[in-house]
């Protein structure tokens, strides 16, 4: 039984472990702290009620440019917990908070060109569009799609059920997306927080 809720500070170590298990792009603890201490509203976890974090989304808001927008730093769901629609639920929760709290115009993310499962989740289930291709974005030289989705103008309190059609569709197609959907690699946890 998986509970979708906002992450607390006490979840961060488990989120880091979940990230290590699932994804090749990892971060040091300071980067998680940076996120939760900057945008506490944008971190969500899937908690299996047995003390395990089985999925999370880590997101932020870029305020520097003239247009405020959200960015998905990292999203992961354990392979053992696929086909439950967790990735979709986590993403919807983070996106809603981006609009509601920060008035974000759009949300962006990076995904490996080769990661079809994650790409399908973003493109088909969640409505992201390819905005650009970033050559050699990842440490191993792979390109990334820079994907974006418009947020404003959408209903603020987006009801999860509204996504049902697309969602069901996603599931009928195997739903493999949730396992290694991830975003943004370059930071790799070495990025210094802006705090000094």
């Amino acid at each position: 039984m998986v509970c979708i809720r906002k992450a607390t500070i006490d979840d961060l170590l488990a989120m880091q472990t979940c990230n290590h298990l699932c994804l090749a792009e990892n971060f040091q603890m300071k980067y998680y702290l940076y996120h939760i201490l900057s945008w506490p509203q944008l971190l969500y976890v899937a908690d299996d009620n047995n003390g395990h974090i089985v999925g999370y989304v880590l997101a932020k808001v870029e305020e520097e440019s003239n247009e405020c927008h959200g960015h998905i730093t990292s999203l992961a769901v354990l392979r053992t917990h696929r086909k439950l629609g967790l990735a979709t639920k986590l993403m919807n929760a983070a996106q809603n908070a981006m609009v509601q709290v920060f008035g974000a115009e759009y949300v962006s993310l990076h995904v490996r060109k080769s990661n079809r499962a994650a790409f399908n989740l973003y493109a088909e289930t969640l409505g992201y569009k390819i905005h650009d291709v970033e050559a050699k974005y990842y440490a191993d030289g792979e390109d990334a799609y820079d994907m974006r989705k418009k947020l404003k103008g959408k209903q603020i309190h987006h009801h999860p059920d509204h996504g049902r059609h697309v969602h069901g569709h996603h599931h009928e197609h195997g739903g493999g997306c949730c396992s290694s959907a991830e975003a943004e690699a370059k930071v790799s946890g070495k990025k210094e927080t802006k705090a000094t």
């Binding site: 998986v2 170590l13 472990t17 290590h20 603890m29 053992t80 792979e142």
Partner: protein, 903 residues
Amino acid sequence: MGASLPPKEANLFKLIVKSYETKQYKKGLKAADSILKKFPDHGETLAMKGLTLNCMDRKSEAYELVRQGLKNDLKSHVCWHVYGLLYRSDREYREAIKCYRNALRIDPDNIEILRDLSLLQAQMRDLTGFVETRQQLLSLKPNHRMNWIGFAVAHHLNSNASKAVEILEAYEGTLEDDHPPDNERCEHGEMLLYKISLLEECGFLERALAELHKKESKIVDKLDCKEQEVSLLLKLGRLEEGEKLLRALLFMNPDNYRYYEGLQKCVGLYSENSHFSPDEIDRLDALYKSLGQQYQWSSAVKRIPLDFLQGDRFQEAAENYIRPLVTKGVPSLFSDLSPLYDHPCKVDILEQLMLKLEHSIRTTSQYPGRAEKEPPSTLMWSLFLLAQHHDRRGHYDIALSKINEAIEHTPTVIDLYSAKSRILKHAGDLAAAAALADEARCMDLADRYINSDCVKRMLQADQVALAEKTAVLFTKDGDQHNNLHDMQCMWYELASGESYFRQGDLGRALKKFLAVEKHYADITEDQFDFHSYCLRKMTLRAYVEMLRFQDRLHSHAYFHKAAAGAIRCYLKLYDSPPKSTAEEDDDMSKLLPSQKKKMRQKQRKAEARAKKEAEEKHEESSAAGASKSGKRHVKPVDPDPHGEKLLKIEDPLLEATKYLKLLQKNSPDSLETHLLSFELNMRKQKILLAFQAVKQLLRLDAEHPDSHRCLIKFFHKARSMATPMTDTEKLVWSVLEAERPTISQLHEKSLTEGNEIFLERFKDSLLHRAAVAEMLYVLEPDRKLEAIRLIEESTNNMVPKKGALGPVRGWKLKDCIEVHKLLGTVLDDNEASLRWKVRCAECFPYSTYFEGSCSSAVPNSAYNQIRKSSENGSADHLEGGETADSLASNGRLEAFKDLTICP
């Protein structure tokens, strides 16, 4: 600053400071040198030059210069401030605080120094000092928002939440009515929520709620605002309003269990232990049925009723819940159901249900009572579910036959191999489990999760070298071959540390355990930058929570494991210090020729491996040197990659004491903490500390076999001590004399009697019998045979259970291994230990440890027969212990490296 200098030099001095701030160290150094040419003794310049050099990795010169500068100008706050900054950069916060305080004595209102001091005080949790400094900052600059907030937070941290509220309200009093401007709305909203949470913390619930309603329009984070309101309403007993709000929250997120819990509280249907009367169950059932209609997309609303329903209604609900998930092939279904296994009646119902579904699908391709045909995959998923059920119940043979059937049915589903690997692990065949996990891994090389799963199994099977080679397929980071350590991948470091420890490689084990310890020190350090950051960002609730999290950081499970692991290494190191080469040669000569040959082979292998590793390292570093980015981010080479230096430590017990203190402070309720304290203090001859450990063990769990062991061993040792001579010895003696009667397990009884009574109470438990036997032998070595008999007369009682598939045996594999080791080491009886092994091999036919007939340890086991005929290349993993070499030599791994596409 630089006041005593003529104008030209004074300007140069400003340049040094500016260059330091903008990290243009070379420029700063040049400026410093030109001042020093004319004024070689100028203190502040010397100090600033030192600080600059510190940033250029010239530490010893830096300290020398700063100290020289200070000596030349003791009255300069700049020199003291610089000295403080130097200490701060080395994380010597206590020294840094002293320096700042000296600086402030000279220049009490220096805002920069006050601010730096306040950061250190927050970091060191010098809370009274923090409040004082923050107060001073506020009185110096009351027009800065940050100073108000900082003062309030300081009081809050210093356990004065109501004062913090007063300060925030005073701050609000300074604001215009139209505050906040658009660009500060988020921050202001956060401040308001912080204030409301402070009011709640003080118990001013009505005030908090009134404030929340009054300021609602200015609170940007509506979700948190609602959650805060619910919390207040529930505490105030205003349940109807709470219910309304919770329903609104559920509308936004119908998968948050806490909302359901809150809703149940509001309608008077909540119970801590889920015990409900039949009437309450009816009402709950009705509630969830209506919620289920509203939130069809919610998984929670479907799952929760399984927790409270009983009997036939449970069966019906479980069936309706399970069917569509089996059809859909949800791999986590079993783990979702597993909390229900705490209730034996529900387990039986689930078992019947799963068997019924399997039978129906198998014979008719339909669920019972349904007309539609199920797709073929439904049979496979129902077998998958049943296999996990039997695994949980300890019926490993049935579990394996179910999972094998599922694999035969659809050989392409990776989850089946992972499940089989897990069953084999539980059954005790670690090598086969690793091989299966590797097979799963090879089916999708781009999925790190199955890679991690495989690495975990390899480490459990003590194939560390192979595990590392497998793990690093995902850990390339630019030029870096392996970033597991840099990225704080602690589960891996712990698991490999434990494997090294099992294999007796204490150096490498320590290396890994201490690495984890280091990560925790770094995380503690991480908070430093946020002390000022959060005051600016106004994420005050998260900030305070973060500080509290940091205060209990070392109670986290990973740290506990790492510290316990390190202590065990040091104890072992103390018990058997590493031998010098001469001694090793001596040992060799005592061996039989065949053993010698084996030893030499092992050594040669190890040498070859080391050589290969060194070559790889070399290649890496030269590759890094030629990196195209030219940033030359060459990591310093670890001078002790195998932890050999760690083994040469002079006083292992002293090292162990460091980590024990952390455990005692942060995990005082863990049995393990006090077991380790007992072991350590007995070795250190710290009798009273060892006695403290015994008392803690009795407090936590007097019935635990290890608590019993420590109790008996302690008083046995105390009895054998020489008559006290010195005053200290006499004191210790008198404390023990006074304390012993207070221990209910002993009272006036002899130790042997205490041991017998313990046996009488727990005579049906294997581990308790083993503890009693061990203590019997410790107390009276000539009763060794009796002790061994006590163990051998243990019976593997059936746990009564009326299910369809027979009873479950009571012994656990792990416990039997422990007993086997006891027979072989402490009791030191080869024959008894062999008899035990034979007996356990029968109970645990899949156990490699006991060489059970079905395990991969037996060459002709059914398992190995299948493996041999299998075409899958992974089979060779099983042959021989050191699989890494075989893998590397046949080139497969190299091939994988090229093939692997990271996700």
